[in-house]
Amino acid sequence: MTAADPARQAQPAHSPSPGEVASRAAEVRRNWLLSTPALTLLFLAASGPLLVVILYSVLTPGEYSGVVWELSGDAWYRVILHRDIFDDTVSLADAHLRIFWRSAKLSLLTTFVALIIGFPTAYFVATRPPQQRTLWLFLITIPFWTNLLIRTFAIMEVIRNEGIVNSTLMSLGVIEAPIQLLYTDTAVLIGMVYVYLPLMVLPLYASMERLDFRLVEAAYDLYATRLQVLRRVIIPLVKPGIIAGSILVFIPSLGAYVTPRVLGGGKNMMLGNLIELQFGQGRNWPLGAALSLTLLVIVMIALLVYVRNVSRSESRG
């Protein structure tokens, strides 16, 4: 739009007066002041341990555990590369890469499945009469009241070979022998979707609750079919909720420890388990620290993508 546009000139954009700018600046200052205690605490609690982890990642592992105060890049090197002990040939650290890949794959799948299940759930709750919504939200958050470990063992009970799923299918004659679900990637996926689903539903619900359903009617009126209404109106408008929910599910999935440990058995490790291993049996604290930081970087990249997406959709309206 050019400056010569008469309509634009007739209606100047709101350009704030100097007084407005000053009072806004004062408000910003006050807000910073008010949040200082929280920010200080967060900074100390987050940066302290982080500095320790960064430091450990560049030290040498101790004999039995802990670290020796001797700088070494070996841990970082070993995150993705592997040197053969006998002939010193360098190759990619297959075991690590496989675990990275499984973690990324399972986390993305978890996010995707949680989105597929969470979207209609959130839509359902958001379209209930207001008095009923509180009840539905309450029901959705109930699993949070139970310890994660107990919930995970409950899932184990459901999917193990003698569990409800297999025994029901067998008594119905659908299958002859039990399906091996437990200790597979599928078990980990099921467990993580179950555990993290509320984290998807809640932000989705929050943005759907704000959705003006008259827009949905307007789209129907303008010849949009159900699918087109979903694609052209609902999804674009609840996109911030979709992104927030996906991030909230993806990040903890990536670092999940309990669920893959219990449901994946020992074999199907994820990043969290690999890290734990280095601090435990592996007795390689620097490698554990380097792996933790790798995880952190992946999470930060995911967050950056989120922030960029949200700020773009906000600047559009």
């Binding site: 008469p6 309509a7 003006d212 008259r214 827009l215 009617e217 307007a218 009126d221 303008l222 052209r232």
Partner: protein, 381 residues
């Protein structure tokens, strides 16, 4: 009686139209019941109505009378509990909104906030899978029709209320629907903008030739804009007719009271034939009036007469009603005199202020009220 040209024929508007071939929308015994059990609400009760092709039809009535419900049923957002809705002769009662060639201008405008002005207008055409070139051409035409070319790339949150209104109109007109539904589209605008948009709407309706069904609770808006008006109350259609018909020949007390100011009087029936009735009002006034067709009068009837049809004079004259002026309201072009009749009834007379008329009545003054028998309307109930 007003005459109206429709499809080259001259129709005498009678308010009866059930066998008119050019009906665009026909509601046949449509009822709508919301809820169930104790909280059951009958929003519409066996409404039958015919809307002609190419006319500006207004649904007028107080809040909660079912205007929006009827409109939403034509749009397809609600389905009748009983009865049927025909569009251009075929039953559409059960069709979803996206299968009806009917578009709505919503009271809240309901513009898509994630799309620009031009994208909003294009939406319906895209959903109909029209070719890209045609969409671009139609959008440009619509933008110029509502004078919004300069804003086509703005988001709808970046334009004023009046401009949003225009975009909503353009968006609904772009797919060239058979019927355009407008649910109180002007109620959010200030008075000046509202007057402008009234003229604009009439112009658009004239240019496009599309049948407009307009909802309002503003009787003045209804009178100035409509070809025909349906007056509704509590889920019923009380009267359908031209603005002139509705104003001058209200079917009942509700319509008379809802449309403009009016005076109601009770009169004794002296005699009646099939179409005339002789009445006596109080002591001094006897008159002969038209009897609405099909009405069999009891011994007393109610009649209405508009304030502008009352004549005031000093003292008592031959056939008139005696009374005293109880209040005088000066309104610029005319003056309202409130007169308390000796019989106890209260009347309002509107007298035009012209330099020629030197008649001025003061409060407490004795006056005689008279009127032409032809300006009196006998009510059915």
């Amino acid at each position: 009686m007003q005459q109206q040209v429709s499809e080259g024929r001259v129709l005498i508007d009678s308010g009866k139209n059930s066998n008119d071939a050019s009906l665009m929308i026909e509601a046949i015994g449509v009822s709508k019941i919301f809820g169930s059990g104790d909280s059951m609400i009958t929003a519409l009760d066996a409404v039958s109505i015919g809307i002609r092709e190419g006319e500006f039809f207004t649904l007028l009535g107080p809040s909660g009378c079912g205007k929006t419900t009827l409109l939403r049923m034509i749009a397809g957002f609600e389905h009748p509990s009983s009865g049927a809705i025909l569009l251009d002769g075929s039953d559409i009662s059960e069709l979803p909104p996206y299968k009806r060639p009917v578009n709505t201008v919503f009271q809240s405008y309901a513009l898509f906030p994630h799309l620009t002005v031009a994208q909003n207008i294009a939406f319906g055409l895209q959903m109909l899978d029209r070719p890209k070139a045609e969409i671009a051409e139609t959008v440009d035409r619509m933008l110029s029709m509502v004078k919004m070319e300069a804003m086509k790339d703005r988001l709808t949150s970046q334009i004023s209320g009046g401009q949003q209104q225009r975009v909503a109109l353009a968006r609904a007109l772009a797919p060239q629907p058979k019927v355009l539904l407008l649910d109180e589209p002007l109620s959010a605008l200030d008075l000046k903008l509202r007057k402008e948009m009234q003229i604009e709407l009439k112009r658009l309706q004239h240019e496009t030739g599309i049948t407009f069904v307009f909802v309002t609770h503003d009787q003045e808006e209804a009178l100035t804009m409509s070809d025909r008006i349906a007056v509704m109350s509590e889920g019923h259609v009380l009267q359908v007719g031209s603005p002139h018909d509705i104003y001058e020949r209200p079917a009942n007390r509700f319509v008379a009271g809802f449309i403009g100011e009016t005076n109601t009087l009770t009169a004794e029936v002296m005699s009646s034939t099939t179409d005339r009735i002789s009445l006596r009002l109080g002591e001094g006034l006897e008159l002969d009036a038209e009897l609405p067709s099909g009405m069999t009068p009891k011994e007393r009837v109610t009649l209405v007469v508009r304030p502008e049809h009352l004549r005031l004079s000093f003292g008592t004259t031959g056939s008139s009603l005696p009374g005293t002026v109880s209040n005088v309201v000066y309104l610029g072009t005319d003056t309202h005199y409130h007169v308390r009749l000796d019989s106890g009834d209260e009347l309002v007379a509107r007298v035009q202020n012209s330099s020629a008329s030197d008649l001025q009545f003061g409060i407490g003054e004795a006056v005689a009220v008279a009127f032409e028998p032809s300006t009196v309307r006998v009510l059915r109930d």
